[in-house]
């Protein structure tokens, strides 16, 4: 039998030379062209047509659990560029408990070609083809197929052109949206957008990613869909993006999935926004030069430069840079010290948002000259003239930063806010850009007095400009109040706005009264700000704990002490696996019915806004992140559920916990 098979193969692989068709056991293969002629410089299509017998199949680029994809090697006597195979939509083919990906019936494997130059009248194209055709048994085959095509200026469709048209309808589309994948120890989670609801199936390009025979359970959200699939037995951690075809049998599209990086979920495109921040910091630095407390000095400086030609050019910018870096370092040290004692500086932290709202309001008041006079530092500026050695220029730079501080505060505060939530290097980069912007005009002046002409003249307009800048500051406050609302509640926002009102009032008052009263008034403003921020932040927790089943360690302990069954679900908005679990298992009717029981409680911890309480809880179970599901039987036992759930897993765990409690209480 085997001998015969080889003999057959030998016969037809030798016999078909320079023919465009060949026949193997249970299959016919043919090399066909969409057009009867080739035209130089144009992309045209040729293809290998595989026609297996009824019930026999050939394979997709990833054949699945067994089998082998066809391969084509191209040869030609002319300079032709051959593209990759455009695979039509495959379908899963089940053989016992194994799954293959392939094609039943005639399949055209289309390849784009491009004849570079019309140097010949006829061109010969050959394909060294290998294939595997299977029903349950498999038969491999090899053949060399050849077609001859004339080269012409006009091309006409061939008898096969219809086949090409039909195959094109069956080709997957390239997907525009991005996809993300995440890995648990047993499963792959994939998130993408689907064009419409259908029976979608995921086909991986690589054979060692997912278990091909595993169920693919989808969960659908408003903007995205997620699927969780068992990992392949041969899975090794991928270092590259993973490529998939997603198909419902009629339509399909390719997705390239990148790792679902949870840190990037907080901040969508960090690199892009960093460039933008650097640009703003630079512009901010430039604007500092025309602030009322800087521009007059700068003009004097320009004059003195005009007088002494030999001034050192670099002392000033280096002095400015050094001061800004020192400031950045102090912030970084404070920030590190802060996080070491457990303060997180995340924009997700409502308290930080409230703090920023007060800061920006304060800056707006400063710009509108509503602060008590004592807070201004102006007047030191006179000493800024005349020096020309490096050291003197260096300290001029340092002094400029200090002197300018009443006006630089708005920009420094913004930079400070960004620094609090950015990585260390970004912080340094932002401060550097600010410093460069600040030092640039003076440095240019010292290089050439011609730049002095470009400098605007000091005048009353500076004051107007300064006052105008108060509005962007207040706009920021409006935005922060809106963010605060989404983090807390309308009640929390009321606390914040009331706090801002009281804060501004007391600061306004402090400028109207003298000495002791002024200090008292400022203290009152601070107290008011702190009290309202804290109150507003708490307003969230109280309300949401009543509404939802928000997780808190205290609540968990309480419920366990009362001998309740508690299901804890640690989740996050960006977690793909969590979403699938919630839709497939946790929202199932049977489980929901079980949760109605007054002795069964359900606590949800949301790790989207990373917080200390949930961090500690995850730490307790040695988990770096979510999902984490735990079922407690009072204080008697706890069960950590797998990361991928079915309704049965959760129901069984809860019922077992119930039994344990009944058993323990009856004893």
């Amino acid at each position: 039998m085997v001998r015969l098979l080889y003999l057959l193969l030998l016969i037809f692989s030798a016999g078909v030379f320079s023919q465009n068709t060949a026949t193997g056991p249970h299959i016919e293969v043919a090399l066909v062209s969409e057009h009867n002629q080739l035209r130089a410089g144009e992309t045209q299509w040729i293809g290998v047509l595989l026609t297996p017998d009824k019930d026999w199949h050939t394979y997709w680029l990833n054949p699945g659990d067994s089998g082998e994809a066809p391969t084509i090697q191209w040869y030609s006597d002319a300079d032709i560029e051959f593209g990759d195979i455009h695979w039509p939509l495959p379908k899963p083919i089940q053989v016992a408990h194994l799954v293959n990906y392939g094609y039943e019936g005639a399949t055209l494997l289309m390849v784009p070609i491009n004849l570079k130059q019309a140097t010949k009248e006829r061109v010969s194209i050959s394909a060294n083809l290998s294939w595997l055709v299977c029903k349950e048994d498999c038969i491999p085959g090899w053949a060399t197929l050849t077609i001859d095509l004339p080269v012409a200026d006009s091309i006409t469709p061939s008898e096969h052109s219809n086949l090409f048209e039909q195959t094109r309808l069956n080709l997957p589309k390239k997907h525009k949206d991005t996809a993300q994948f995440e890995l648990t120890s047993t499963h792959l989670g994939l998130q993408t957008t689907l064009p419409y609801q259908s029976d979608w199936h995921v086909f991986p390009f690589r054979g060692d990613v997912i278990a091909h025979n595993a169920d693919q359970a989808w969960a659908h959200q408003a903007n995205s869909s997620q699927v969780v699939i068992s990992l392949s037995d041969y899975f090794a951690t991928p270092s590259e993006p993973l490529n998939f075809l997603v198909s419902d049998g009629k339509n399909g599209f390719y997705v390239e999935a990148i790792p679902n990086d949870t840190s990037s979920a907080d901040n969508n495109s960090p690199s892009q926004s960093l460039w933008l921040m650097l640009l703003f910091a630079f512009i901010g630095g430039l604007i500092l030069n025309i602030m009322p407390c800087v521009l007059p000095i700068l003009s004097m400086k320009a004059l003195s430069f005009a007088q002494s030609q030999k001034a050192n050019h670099w002392g000033y910018p280096i002095g400015v840079l050094a001061s800004f870096w020192l400031f950045a370092s102090i912030i970084l040290v404070l920030k590190e010290a802060g996080s070491a004692v457990g303060w997180g500086f995340h924009l997700q932290e409502p308290l930080l948002i409230a703090g920023l709202a007060f800061l920006f309001t304060f800056i707006a008041m400063m710009l509108w000259d509503l602060l008590p006079k004592g807070i201004n530092l102006a007047g030191v500026g006179q000493s800024l003239t005349g020096e020309s050695t490096f050291t003197q220029q260096f300290f001029t730079g340092v002094l400029a930063v200090i002197v300018a501080s009443p006006c630089t505060a708005p920009f420094m505060a913004t930079a400070l806010g960004v620094a609090m939530i950015s990585p260390m290097l970004d912080t340094l980069a932002i401060f550097t850009a600010l410093a460069v912007g600040f030092a640039l005009p003076m440095t240019l002046l010292s290089l050439s007095t011609r730049f002095a002409a470009l400098l605007p003249k000091p005048g009353a307009w500076m004051q107007t400009f300064k006052h105008f800048l108060g509005f962007p500051m207040l706009a920021t406050v409006v935005w922060l109040a809106w963010v605060f609302l989404s983090q807390t509640s309308s009640f929390g926002q009321l606390w914040l706005l009331s706090g801002l009102l009281g804060f501004t009032f007391f600061i306004w008052l402090s400028a109207k009264v003298n000495r002791v009263y002024c200090v008292m008034s400022l203290l009152l403003a601070m107290t008011f700000a702190t009290f309202c921020s804290v109150k507003g932040t708490q307003a969230t927790k109280v309300i949401s704990e009543q509404k939802n089943n928000h997780f808190s360690a205290q609540k968990l302990t309480e419920l366990r002490n009362n001998n309740h069954v508690v299901l804890v679900n640690m989740t996050a908005d960006w977690c793909i696996t969590c979403k699938v679990n919630e839709q497939v298992a946790l929202n199932s009717a049977d489980l929901q019915a079980l949760l109605e029981d007054s002795k069964v409680d359900y606590l949800v911890g949301d790790w989207t806004n990373k917080n200390q309480a949930i961090y500690e809880y995850l730490e307790q179970y040695q988990r770096p992140g979510v999902p984490l599901y735990v079922v407690y039987a009072g204080n008697h036992s706890k069960q950590v559920l797998p990361q991928v759930l079915t309704p049965e897993i959760v129901i069984n765990a809860i019922q077992q916990a119930k039994k344990e409690i009944n058993h323990a209480t009856s004893n």
Binding site: M1, V2, L5, Y6, D65, S66, G67, E68, V95, A96, H97, L98, N100, S130, L132, C134, E136, D137, C138, I139, P140, W142, G207, D208, S232, D233, Y234, A236, Y621, Q622, Q639, V640, L641, P642, I649, A653
Partner: protein, 202 residues
């Protein structure tokens, strides 16, 4: 300790799903008992203290033919059984499906192909194949003297039915066994197997 409890709890949860723990590289290879082509009952545990190779086979599968037609598989069997390695060829083809053979036919095949396995074993109902998650013929496994699974996967690195590729490919069984026999760890412990699907009972 906490981690251990976690795993215990996890495995307890999965226990109803899998009646017996499935094979996994670097863990204990699950024991099994099968009849050989001479009617003798053979258990994996009989060979404790020796290296054991499991070879899933189906003499009509073109990918098996690739390695037998070229004497590649038989020479591996001869080479390693001489070094006291136990070589078990397992047939999981169900009754009536391709590759299913009688004991007599199996012995004939061994003789005709000058094969040298320690035993040819029959797994008609596919239980052992499923236990080891064997998917293709050939699908190869190496078990160390302590009973741990040291390698699972393809016979070599080129997925084809073409015998000409054998010399160009890296043979994973040779690489694995040579490393183990020299007291070194196996570099590639898990690969995706290639070949025909095993003709399991549906």
């Amino acid at each position: 300790m906490q981690r251990l409890t976690k795993w215990l709890m996890l495995s307890m949860l999965f226990a109803p799903l899998l009646s017996i723990a499935a094979a996994k590289v670097d863990t204990s290879a699950p024991d099994f008992k099968l009849q050989d082509s001479f009617g003798k009952t053979v258990s994996l545990s009989d060979f404790k203290g020796k290296y054991v190779v499991l070879e899933w086979t189906n003499h009509l599968c073109p990918y098996v033919v690739k390695h037998y037609g070229s004497d590649n598989m038989q020479s591996l069997q001869r080479q390693y059984t001489q070094k006291d390695v136990v070589w078990l060829s397992i047939i999981s083809s169900a009754k009536g499906k391709q590759g299913h053979v009688s004991a007599q036919k199996a012995n004939e095949l061994t003789q005709k192909r000058s094969a040298a396995p320690s035993h040819v074993l029959f797994d008609e109902d596919g239980q052992v194949g499923r236990l080891y998650k064997a998917k293709t013929t050939p699908h190869m496994y190496i078990i160390n003297p302590q009973g741990k699974l040291s390698y699972a996967g393809a016979i070599d690195s080129i997925k084809s039915a073409n015998p000409a590729d054998i010399t160009k490919a890296t043979n994973y069984v040779t690489a694995g066994l040579n490393n183990l026999l020299a007291g070194k760890p196996v570099t590639q412990k898990l690969t995706k197997p290639y070949g025909c699907s095993i003709k399991y009972k549906s």
